[in-house]
Point group: C2
Chain length 637, copies 2
Amino acid sequence: MATAQRTSPVVVDTSGSPYARMHPVPVDAVRLSDTVWAPRLTTVREVMLPSQHRALEETGRLANFRRSAGTAEGDFEGFYFNDSDVYKWLEAASWVLASRPDAELEHLVDRVIEEVGAAQLPDGYLDNFYLGKRNTLRWTELTRTHELYCAGHLFQAAVAHHRATGKTRLLEIATRFADLICDVFGPAEQGKRPGTDGHEEIELALVELSRETGERRYLDQACYFLHARGYGLAGGDEYHQDHRPFRELDAMVGHAVRAVYLNAGAADIYAETGEPALLTALERLWTSMVEWRIYVTGGIGARHEDEAFGVDYELPNARAYAETCAAIGSVMWNWRMLLLTGEARYADLLEHTLYNAVLPGVSLDGRAYFYENPLTSDGGYRRQPWFACACCPPNLARLLASLPGYIYSTSGAEIWVHLYADSSADIQLNGRTVQLRQRSDYPWDGTVELEIDTEGDYALLLRIPAWCESGATIAINDGLLLSEPQPGTYVRIERSWQPGDTVRVTFPMPVRLIEAYPYVEAASGRVAVMRGPILYCAEQVDHPGLDLRDVRLNEGAGTAPLVEPGARSLAGLPLLRVEATIASPDAGWDGRLYRTRRHPERLVEQRVRLTLVPYHAWANRDPGPMLVWLRATGPAE
Amino acid sequence: MATAQRTSPVVVDTSGSPYARMHPVPVDAVRLSDTVWAPRLTTVREVMLPSQHRALEETGRLANFRRSAGTAEGDFEGFYFNDSDVYKWLEAASWVLASRPDAELEHLVDRVIEEVGAAQLPDGYLDNFYLGKRNTLRWTELTRTHELYCAGHLFQAAVAHHRATGKTRLLEIATRFADLICDVFGPAEQGKRPGTDGHEEIELALVELSRETGERRYLDQACYFLHARGYGLAGGDEYHQDHRPFRELDAMVGHAVRAVYLNAGAADIYAETGEPALLTALERLWTSMVEWRIYVTGGIGARHEDEAFGVDYELPNARAYAETCAAIGSVMWNWRMLLLTGEARYADLLEHTLYNAVLPGVSLDGRAYFYENPLTSDGGYRRQPWFACACCPPNLARLLASLPGYIYSTSGAEIWVHLYADSSADIQLNGRTVQLRQRSDYPWDGTVELEIDTEGDYALLLRIPAWCESGATIAINDGLLLSEPQPGTYVRIERSWQPGDTVRVTFPMPVRLIEAYPYVEAASGRVAVMRGPILYCAEQVDHPGLDLRDVRLNEGAGTAPLVEPGARSLAGLPLLRVEATIASPDAGWDGRLYRTRRHPERLVEQRVRLTLVPYHAWANRDPGPMLVWLRATGPAE
């Protein structure tokens, strides 16, 4: 295996991948100073990592390793997949260490890694659920108990830790386990045990482990696990994406987290193998998701039952599942699709999902989490500090901690600008360091000034977000370069840059009323409100005495909503104020749920100004109802 | 216990209940000759009972009794509640025997009863799940395994069999088991075992057993089981209606079938005890159901998860659960509320539920069943001949077989007419037999002629359905008696009747477009179509090449839909033809699910005539999409 020198802490290492269009920049290349992500990074360090570590300790997740090592009493405790929470926490801590040295955290991480290593058997096996009295059942319950899923999270953590610190201990643990897995699993013709996991994750993890170690064998094993699906080895059903071979899949079905993790793994494999059928299947699946089975938030997985995708247009609001982990998995998948293709549509969905489906998963103070993310609530649903099934909290931590790595990427002499956020960056480009600075109040304001501090001939590829439907401009050093670039593309600007050059991009941010395709029952006659990349919602706490279900947003040229200057009451986030009408149901209902349709009586309508808050910030104040899809006056499509 | 003489085959025997307003007439007092129910009764006899008996045999449900008796090999097979399917079949067969002698069926019933009896232990215990190797677990898993639920269905079958045939064998089996249950369960202070079942049913069954045998003890035991709820003995949660004591319940929550069975039991107990808090709770629960948690079909239980009620206004269409058994339980409950109070609202819901939520549960030919009853389908959902969890098929059989018992009831010198259907009846009234005949094409036509063939001084109470919002008239012997009676009431007509007197009731049946309360998201901007008590739907099979989701019903005085004369293509059922517009989504979607709202382009709209079929008859022809809630033009409330 590769030696233990510090490698580049990139989120997905496509630097040697023959079929990737571009390569990420390291997490520590970018320093965020914006008002959305930068505070979250602080929260990850100061709140989420410490409190999650406490939870891992208090809930026996760390003790499970000690029990396996023989240094603590008792049998395995908690869910069979609880090891993965420890691994995701290690990965999150590694990304934090990549960005910012922290001796205390590094020491804690080392200690946890030692405990992980102490639990490992001499043959490399490491899964606490099976290291106690269940040892004879090892490898026999793949459909159900996430054995390879946990291994995958170990591998991801090991790769991140190695990239971030250069230390090899966790990578050694991971490769010993990976070697065992490679020895055990494979086609029966090779004398191996056929099998693949009921919860995908091992695929993408093995590819990353292969990239980090140079071991081709891990990539081959990932291919085996991917293509073993569809033949009944992992349940044989849609829930486990085991109903058909991957190359034949044409719709997002089953457990949503599993589905997007699978696709992320397949994308990683495509980056290495270039098998056209994989990319075709991935594009087909992506299209089926965005055209039929995704929430306006970017959340996926409509059903509580099985945490699964529903059928086309099945997108209930109050009962939306939209698991935080599924949104994170969608980001993982879209990031890989973007790296493969350079197509802006993946960056568009990645940005939208980050702001509106991932971020709602954690409270502004970093102390509580959502597992499900409904689009309306009666007020009883609140974030929790931890869960028995705690996949989401450390998943949020590892994504947020690595977020600086998603802003840019490079390809040859090209720098791609995917996300906009006040920040500074040092980007390695053909052996030289290019210094960039973004000055912006994005996502609240659409003006971004990109200062280039390094001279040279290279290209900038600026993403024109699909949400910016018209009016974008690009200027260089105050000279207009381009107006009305095509939304949902990258604009390529190649020139000899001089230090001090400034690219000024402006994305007009009118308030947009969003409508859903008419077949979406749950949004019929309703609109959602967006401005820039941010989805808004109405919360009861801003509207005492008003039933949000009675509100109808007004539409028309004369009632275009405005950003309220200075209205920053919710942790400094800009709110929106929009014109609306209160139209309570007429008096003719008499307690009935159904009646013969009648022309409503002339209602006394009341005009109100409605305060809207970013959906990602809901449920951070007093409990109360919340609504994303608001009834609307105006044209009935 | 009471002796074995043939008693009156009534569905619920309130003849001795001090707090019941009225008493049912026996099942054999009414002979139906209408076009909806009469054919179903034939189907019950000729198709459902024989095929269900075969299924009970083929699936080991009958063999389970033989295994317990030692006359067959092996251990218990199937779900722990499978005994109840046998008991419901026995009840259904009993109601059939009550109406119509059938030596072959009676012989088969006797044989099954002998096998049931042979399985019973000397101490009276009888539950096949616990009669094999699980015997030591008897009474220890009440929350989960339906032990008392199965007992309740045994008791109901025994009561029906005794009422129908006068034979005592099954009643003896039942009372021996009931005696054991009474000995075992009760407050710890009395040295008994505290407990109550996770699935209600025993309560109503014990009350009926008490009525049939005269044993007060069974009634007391029913009261114990009812009031033991709410203290954690049966799960402690809303799912089992064990979160609060019954008297304090204020919303329909948890598993829908359980909830309505519980309420039916509480109503039966109220009929005997008259405890005001019970009736108050029942009325509160009923109101909460009809105002917030019921489908336009009358179906209840919105969630697949837990087969449970959702929160207020949570009424998804495609994912409606609306279990057939829950609708049957609602009929059971409403029937008892009607018997208690004489309030027409219960009869209204009973009629509506029968036509639109119970009847869809079985195919027109009686060969296949729905467990769930969605309000729209993409065409993939079809009735099945049987289920592993087969509660619905025999539940349908027992309700349909007893249906003649729901048309009338009596109180003193009053005859209540609850349901309208072509039929003849012989009703015992103060020692005399009153002969009545209904001549009508109801529910397809709103004219009913009631011929009175027996002289005497007595009153008729005619139900004016709530759906008949205006224009009803009542005439006697062609002389107008009353016009515009209040919908949702009973009109009382007392006189000295002469043989040949005819009461002619007319209920105008315009096609009505039904709207839901504006908070019902799933019906927003949509209408359902009703005519008389019948709910209609659109099926793809009548509209080749058309996407039902694009249809918009036209509204306005000029477009009142009409019954197509002679249009009886679906097993003779009248269809509706209504004017509609096809308005496909405009071209500006480009495969998106969401977009910035725009005024739709001027669409080329196409006018069509839509064929609607009774919802209860859907999915009886070629598979294809179905839709109850149709989009509508017209006033946006």
